[in-house]
């Protein structure tokens, strides 16, 4: 039981990071029909932006402050890269959604390769507060502190995003645009600005996801490939949750995170099945698509 509770907690934390990665993807797809492969690059660059700024701080900076700087840098970095991507590469191809998809694939490959060439595969370590590496006792259950951070970030972003989408005019434009982009513009609304905005929001969340993934799950090691690894699971979450649905992404992210953790622990003990958790998420995707091709919360087409 103790093990099960620990696993559940870790799975929820993983799900929180998946949600951060997936919700932006889902919004971008819902509004613009773009399957954004460059999202992996947003995540990776966010983490690198955090690392870069942290290494330029004076050595005497308190570790909590360093981490705060990293978070801000990751969010800003992800948002900035996403903004440039939308303006420079996506906008000129407006009306050609699949050319846009191909461009995002190309961008992701090119940028990841540049990072590999510049920094190597696995050489950088992200400074995090020592507290992250410790654990909190809850009864007999040990809960890693870093997981709390991931979980809190996921919940905060979910709440803020829901507020933004329900209460602000831009949020209403985005939700309406996911339903019927054409009719939104026929009401005199510049949908192009909404496109840029979802990219920026998606990029900001992706940057945060990339940083937290490094701080919580990779032993603080940065890799240029981490974003693309995360991207596969973000895709799986988005499709299971239903393209364009934030709540769907949230539910699916938790399901996928838990499934992966349980499967890894209970199935991975058998020799040759150490990655059964990864495999199980793909099988879940296939199953969901067979039973309900539009995903759990997807709109009917």
């Amino acid at each position: 039981m103790t093990t099960f509770l620990s696993l559940t907690f870790a799975g929820l934390a993983l799900g929180a990071v998946y949600f951060l990665a997936a919700s932006g993807l889902s919004l971008i797809y819902g509004l613009m029909d773009i399957l954004n492969f460059a999202h992996g690059m947003f995540m990776t660059l966010g983490a690198y932006a955090g690392w870069d700024l942290a290494t330029h701080l004076p050595a005497t900076t308190p570790s909590v402050l360093t981490f705060a700087v990293e978070v801000v840098a990751a969010i800003a970095g992800g948002a900035l890269v996403a903004l440039l991507t939308e303006v420079v590469f996506i906008r000129p191809l407006y009306g050609k959604p699949l050319s846009q998809v191909l461009v995002t694939i190309g961008l992701d490959l090119a940028v990841v390769a540049l990072l590999l060439g510049g920094f190597g595969a696995n050489s950088l370590s992200l400074p995090v507060p020592l507290w992250f590496l410790e654990a909190t006792h809850a009864g007999s259950v040990l809960l890693p502190n870093a997981d709390f951070i991931a979980l809190a970030a996921g919940v905060v972003v979910l709440v803020v995003l829901e507020w933004f989408l329900r209460r602000t005019r831009f949020g209403i434009v985005i939700r309406a645009g996911v339903e019927n982009r054409e009719m939104v513009s026929a009401l005199g609304v510049d949908v192009g600005r909404a496109f840029t905005l979802v990219f920026v929001i998606g990029g900001a969340m992706a940057g945060l996801a990339g940083l937290l993934y490094t701080a919580v799950f990779t032993g603080d090691l940065l890799s240029p490939l981490q974003g693309d690894g995360l991207l596969i699971f973000a895709f799986i979450v988005v499709v299971i949750g239903g393209l364009g649905s934030i709540r769907g992404s949230a539910v699916a992210a938790v399901v996928v995170g838990l499934l992966q953790d349980y499967a890894n622990y209970y199935g991975g003990q058998h020799a040759g099945f150490s990655e059964i958790g990864n495999l199980s998420t793909v099988l879940l995707l296939a199953l969901v698509l067979e039973v309900r091709p539009r995903g759990l919360f997807g709109r009917a087409t």
Binding site: R169, I172, V173, R175, A176, E179, S185, G188, V191
Partner: protein
Amino acid sequence: MTYAIELEDVHVSLGGSHVLQGVSFRVPTGGVTALLGRNGVGKTTTLRAIMGLAPHTGTVRVLAHDTRGLAVHRVARLGVGYVPEDRDVFAGLTVAENLRLAERVEVPAYDDAFALFPDLADRLRQRAGSLSGGQQQMLAIARVLLNRWPLLVVDEPSKGLAPKLVGEVADALSRVATTSTVLLVEQNLAVVRRLAERVVVLDHGRVVHQGPVGDLDDADLARQLLGVAAAP
């Protein structure tokens, strides 16, 4: 005479079929002009070309502005309210959100909208998708009244509505028409007779008749043009 809409030699091809083949007509400022024709002759496509939603060649002038090169939202901001066919409201948004989305002026005329459609005022928090067909139609019209724009383009507002609701929608449009120019696509000839001053008839992607609404009284002409008996 000034014109709210002018079309000159407008062509539209959709998926390989030549839907509009040189449509030219003008909608004078003020009152209701009805765009008529059988199913599939290109009425909706004509409205979409006016809004910039259908790629076209030829010239479209809206409120004296050439729309060439204008994005759809820029055309709308010239002062055009568009009520699409099939009551295209945003089903996942509430009534209030649907209305808020359409606001383009500092002080939106909610009073006007709610005076015409008091039902909506009571249902502001309801999801538009859960409204009845008639209520959705009212929302689609109310949405474009908020800005008191000079021109409304309305696509088949009576389609699929119960007779009583058709009357209500027609009442509303006739009041709107006292302050705005309306271009109306409508199959229900009783509604057309009641609202419209002028008619433009399309067939096979071309304008085949223009004139005062009284022309429809000639039953032979009406049958020939529209393929329906025009008796009231």
